[in-house]
């Protein structure tokens, strides 16, 4: 019954928002106000013998009808070319330019331009299955029909803060203009821009004729980063068996230092076949082991769906530490689980820190995952780590056990726990309480600055 009701509610809300969208597209703010007035006048003036609202109804109807008729002819045609930067960052204005060419014969002034953004509305399954933060506190009627849920999901789907309409300079026929635009992303990940909307108001300024110019682009939005005090991670240089290439955990070591006789246990792929042919005995290639500092940044992505905000804060914290932890001669491993375990290494000619941020831009919350997947992967890797920064979403027994085991392997640790509760039992970090930090999602900037003190 509840699902049946919510399905109907979903359809109703979808229709309503589609209507609102079309209304906003075709009518200017003044036009929308007058449209509301028209509706009110129609209701109030239903009995023309009681009052004069029918006169207001007549006036507003004619105003809006004429404005609508005057805005039937769309402006254009136009050709548009958008030049986007490689990256944008959450909450930071992204400036870009586009060239708009008037390929028609109309001489246009007062044209307005706006980005067409992806539809932020949730699909039916998401609407039915998602529980939003604070849903249990909303009033029963709203909870029954799911409006707060719809609103929250739509907000989540809005990847850009409301883009303002940009007034274009005069555009004579067959001429083009370069225009600077700006958008402020509100979510990390890929932002799919659909196209641009060019509109023109009629003489009264109530309705507008709209032409949509398809122009699809994808812009990668990096996580928001905060200033972090300079970091001097503890720990010493560690043996990296097999050298730099092995350190990145991909392919064979390439620091070749010579040949030697085969010893039992040597891998067959290290056999140097030409030398065996020449000498008649098995000879293997020998690679140089290396010692250097290797930091690890571990991001916990296991939490309930309602803790989306905390997870976003954790990603921001991890992103904020990418640059400070990246020393000139050291490696930085970024490890997290997003469907599977990922380990990306930057430094010493491997991936750049920008690459790590790109990966952080796309990491997703794992509401049904098990933290042990991440802890196992890190522990296998632990002997090579000089130090480790853990960004955790909880401080439960499982995570404390993980920290305990890491410390037993003599890996220096710094732990950042994202959450709202301020009291934190240090547990395995009891002897180093200064290395355990609790950060609140809505006070990240202050919290991160305090990490340096």
């Amino acid at each position: 019954m509840l699902n049946w009701l919510r399905r109907r509610s979903y359809r109703g809300l979808r229709l309503l928002t589609a209507f609102q969208y079309r209304l906003r597209r075709r009518f200017t703010p003044v036009g929308r106000i007058l449209l509301g007035g028209l509706l009110a006048a129609a209701i109030l003036g239903i009995d023309t013998r009681q009052n004069l609202a029918h006169q207001a109804f007549g006036l507003l109807t004619v105003l809006l009808a004429l404005a609508w008729l005057a805005s039937i002819r769309v402006p254009g045609p136009f050709r548009v070319q958008r030049h986007l930067p490689r990256y944008a960052t959450v909450d930071e204005p992204c400036h870009y330019r586009l060239r708009l060419e008037n390929t028609g014969r109309g001489d246009y002034r007062d044209l307005q331009l706006q980005e067409v953004l992806p539809d932020p509305r949730p699909d039916l399954d998401t609407f039915l299955s998602t529980r939003v933060p604070g849903e249990e506190t909303v009033n029963p009627v709203d909870r029954l029909f799911g409006y707060p849920r719809w609103y929250w999901l739509t907000e989540q789907g809005n990847r850009v803060y409301t883009t303002e309409e940009t007034l274009l300079p005069a555009l004579p026929p067959l001429e083009s203009r370069e225009i600077g635009l700006q958008l402020v992303p509100r979510r990390r990940g890929y932002l799919h821009l659909q196209g641009l909307r060019v509109s023109r108001s009629e003489p009264l300024g109530l309705c507008r004729a709209v032409r949509t110019l398809p122009q699809q682009h994808h812009l990668l939005v990096l996580p928001r980063r905060y200033p972090v005090p300079p970091q001097y991670p503890p720990g010493r240089r560690r043996l990296q068996p097999g050298g730099l290439s092995q350190a990145s955990a991909v392919g064979e070591a390439q620091e070749f230092i010579g040949l030697r006789d085969y010893r039992p246990g040597d891998p067959l792929r290290h056999i140097h076949w030409p030398s065996w042919a020449r000498t008649g005995r098995p000879v293997v290639k020998e690679f140089q082991d290396e010692y250097f500092s290797r930091q690890a940044l571990i991001l916990d992505s296991f939490a309930a769906p309602l803790r989306e905000q905390d997870f976003e804060a954790a990603v921001s914290v991890a992103a904020s530490f990418v640059e400070p932890l990246q020393g000139p001669d050291s490696l930085l491993d970024l490890m997290f689980v997003s469907d599977e375990v990922y380990c990306f290494t930057s430094g010493r000619g491997l991936m750049s820190s920008q690459g790590l941020l790109e990966n952080l831009a796309c990491v997703g919350l794992q509401p049904d995952g098990d933290f042990s997947i991440l802890s196992r992967a890190v522990l296998e890797h632990a002997t090579q780590l000089s130090s480790c920064l853990l960004v955790l979403l909880d401080w439960d027994e499982q995570r404390q056990t993980f920290v305990r085991r890491l410390r037993s392997l003599a890996v220096p640790l710094r732990v950042v726990v994202i959450g709202s509760a301020m009291d934190l039992d240090p547990g395995p970090m009891g002897d180093q309480p200064r290395q355990l930090h609790r950060l609140q999602a809505d006070r990240l900037a202050e919290g991160l600055m305090e990490l340096g003190t």
Binding site: V30, A40, Q50, F57, G58, L59, N139, R186, L204
Partner: protein, 648 residues
């Protein structure tokens, strides 16, 4: 959206003038416009704004209740509420204007959005809808008003002027607007005319199709229908008689004199207004005494047919603008209350109905054979009129049966002929119609009457009650120079219907009683109710205002601009930051002013210690909710100027 200066004040003034409350309009308009001139403003938190919105909502509810109780019609109450909208919304408007805010958050206006983040949501500017609300509220005036449209057109043009595209030339804009306004005036008139025509057409149609039984000119009967008739238990009338009724009292709604195709018609004739004296509405001048009965009934929209005993000569206590009567004695009430409560004097055997005409003796050709056959069997031509009545009543009582089961007439026979000659069972409409035609056949003028039969006493109501199933049809016969009631239906008809009473009727009656008491409180004690409501509203409003003032943290900030508007390059301290940046000490974005200066002092940058008093004032300017005085602001500027002269 830009709102031109003085538009809000002008609209409020217009509203006050139209509503007859010029002083209130002028007061509110001045208050709304004065905000631009005042050097101070209110510092309202989100919670305060939400409380003010709640206050407006509560005021709306209280005003709706108040108008509902004091106005005679629900429609008038709604119109009064709309007329007062500008006053009821004024607190919210003032909160926006005096809070120097561009608009209100959606969470202020919509309860569903409470508790959600408001940081990124666009604000809703209340000024344009408020202007429109005032203009619509000003429309609640006498429809003959000639000022409204020109003023409305002027205000709309004033509102549209700043919103026009820059490319639009003035003359194009003016011509378009004039054309639109002229066309709009025509459309308004057309709407008015169309509504009148449509209303007339719909009224005719409804009278034809739906309100047949209470149409003064036509009564559709269930004669000829097949199936079962069921009357509801709804109570439609309450009658308090002086003394207990020894036989059912018949309250007539309307009379008809033409029978055609199973329906009764009355020749359309105009209604004549009745005069009202100090002693009530006089239906039969010259008569004063008689039996007294008090009747309560609901009138839809204050209009309808009045249910009265046929020999009523005075109707008293009915608060209606007009009472009128047609040739058939049907009384119509107009512009009355929704709950009519009136006393009637009756029983002096003097009926005010006009004398009969030829039509009161006519018998349809197709019914004549059956009627003549029955009349011949009864020998009606040979006996005096009173004996005719008696013989017809005896025939129906002894040889006919009352039944709500409707039968299918034999092909080729009319339903009335089938009733008289074959089935011999039917409901009151059959008996009444047959009796009218039989009486006419014997030369006695007769009419078909419908209305209600008062016979059930309710201890709960302490009065007689008339249910919908007590709807009845009977005959008015003209005998000895006056019209008298003659009920030919066998007297057991009500007992038969009583047996089919549902088990839940007692609960139904209780609910009906509650509803009646509510309506009585609303309509009969309205002066007291209005006074009571008004006195109740005053302490409530005071209590609300006090609670808001006590809980809110509204501060009046004076002397300096809002701290929120003094960020970045507009802060007095900004030149110091620029100067130090030029000296190679730029302020990192993540450091507070104090932390930054403290660091510089440790680096022994000259002059930093002297900035301490200025830093303290700057912090107070930015973060103290009360701000700083003009003198302190001047002191801050002086300190910074002195420092710049020395160290910049």
């Amino acid at each position: 959206m830009k709102i031109p200066p003085l538009l809000l004040g002008g609209v409020m003034l217009f509203w006050g003038w139209q509503s007859g409350m010029l002083w209130l309009g002028a007061l509110l308009g001045t208050t709304l416009e004065l905000e631009r001139r005042l050097p101070w403003h209110w510092e309202l938190k989100l919670r305060d704004r939400q409380r003010i919105a709640d206050l407006c909502m509560l005021l709306f509810i209280l005003a709706a209740l108040y108008f509902y109780f004091i106005q005679s019609h629900t429609g008038s109450a709604i119109l009064s509420l709309i007329q007062w909208t500008p006053v009821l919304l004024a607190p919210l408007m003032l909160a926006q204007l005096y809070g120097r805010r561009p608009g209100m958050e959606p969470s202020v206006l919509f309860l569903s959005r409470r508790g959600q983040k408001t940081r990124d949501t666009p604000l809703l500017d209340l000024r344009p809808p408020y202007v429109l609300a005032c203009l619509l509220a000003a429309a609640v005036v006498d429809p003959s008003d000639q000022v409204y449209y020109p003023a409305l057109a002027g205000f709309v043009a004033w509102m549209l002027w700043p919103a026009r595209p820059k490319r639009t030339r003035l003359w194009i804009w003016l011509i378009t607007l004039c054309f639109t306004l002229t066309l709009g005036f025509g459309l308004g008139k057309a709407v008015h005319w169309t509504q009148q025509e449509l209303e007339q057409a719909v009224t005719d149609w409804l009278s034809e199709r739906m309100f047949g039984p209470r149409d003064p000119y036509r009564s559709r009967t269930a004669i000829g229908y097949v199936g079962e008739l069921k009357g509801s238990e709804d109570i439609v009338l309450r009658v308090q008689a002086e003394q207990a009724l020894d036989r059912p009292l018949l309250l007539r709604s309307a009379s008809y004199n033409r029978y055609l195709s199973d329906s009764w018609y009355a020749r359309p004739s105009g209604f004549t207004s009745l005069s009202q004296s100090e002693r009530g509405w006089r239906l039969y001048p010259g008569l004063e005494q008689g039996k007294l009965a008090q009747i309560s009934m609901e009138l839809s929209e204050g209009s309808g047919l009045l249910h009265l005993p046929i020999d009523t000569h005075v109707v008293d206590g009915l608060e209606a603008a007009r009472l009128s009567r047609n040739d058939m004695g049907t009384i119509k009430v107009q512009e009355g209350p929704e709950l009519a409560h009136y006393q009637v004097r009756y029983g002096l055997q003097a009926t005010p109905d006009p004398a009969p005409g030829d039509v009161d003796l006519s018998i349809p050709r197709q019914e004549r054979a059956a009627v003549s056959r029955v009349a011949a069997q009864l020998g009606l031509h040979e006996i005096p009129p009173h004996a005719v009545l008696h013989r017809i009543a005896s025939l129906f009582e002894q040889q006919f049966r009352y039944s709500l089961q409707l039968w299918q007439p034999h092909p080729g026979r009319t339903p009335l002929a089938e009733f008289l000659l074959h089935q011999r069972s039917g409901h009151c409409e059959y008996f009444a119609s047959a009796a009218v035609l039989l009486l006419r056949y014997t030369g006695i003028p007769a009419r078909y009457a419908n209305g209600w039969s008062v016979q059930e006493y309710s201890p709960l109501e302490e009065s007689y009650i008339v249910r919908e199933r007590h709807a009845h049809a009977w005959v008015t016969a003209y005998i000895d120079g006056r019209w008298i009631d003659f009920d030919p239906t066998p007297p057991d008809w009500n007992q038969l219907e009583e047996t089919e009473r549902p088990w839940w009727s007692q609960v139904h009656d209780l609910l009906a009683k509650l509803r009646y008491e509510f309506l009585k409180a609303r309509w009969q004690e309205k002066d007291d109710a209005a006074t009571y409501m008004a006195w109740l509203l005053i302490p409530l409003a005071i209590l609300l205002g006090w609670r808001i003032a006590r809980r809110s943290s509204i501060h009046v900030l004076s002397g300096v601009e809002s701290p929120r508007s003094t960020i970045g390059h507009t802060t007095p301290f900004h030149p110091v930051e620029l100067s130090l940046a030029k000296q190679g000490h730029p302020r990192p974005q993540h450091l507070t002013l104090g932390e930054w200066l403290e660091g510089l002092e440790q680096e022994h940058v000259p002059g930093i210690a002297e900035l301490c008093p200025a830093v303290e004032l700057q912090y107070r300017l930015q973060f103290d909710p009360k701000g700083i005085s003009a003198a302190q602001l001047q002191q801050l500027h002086t300190l910074i100027l002195q420092w710049l002269r020395r160290y910049a």
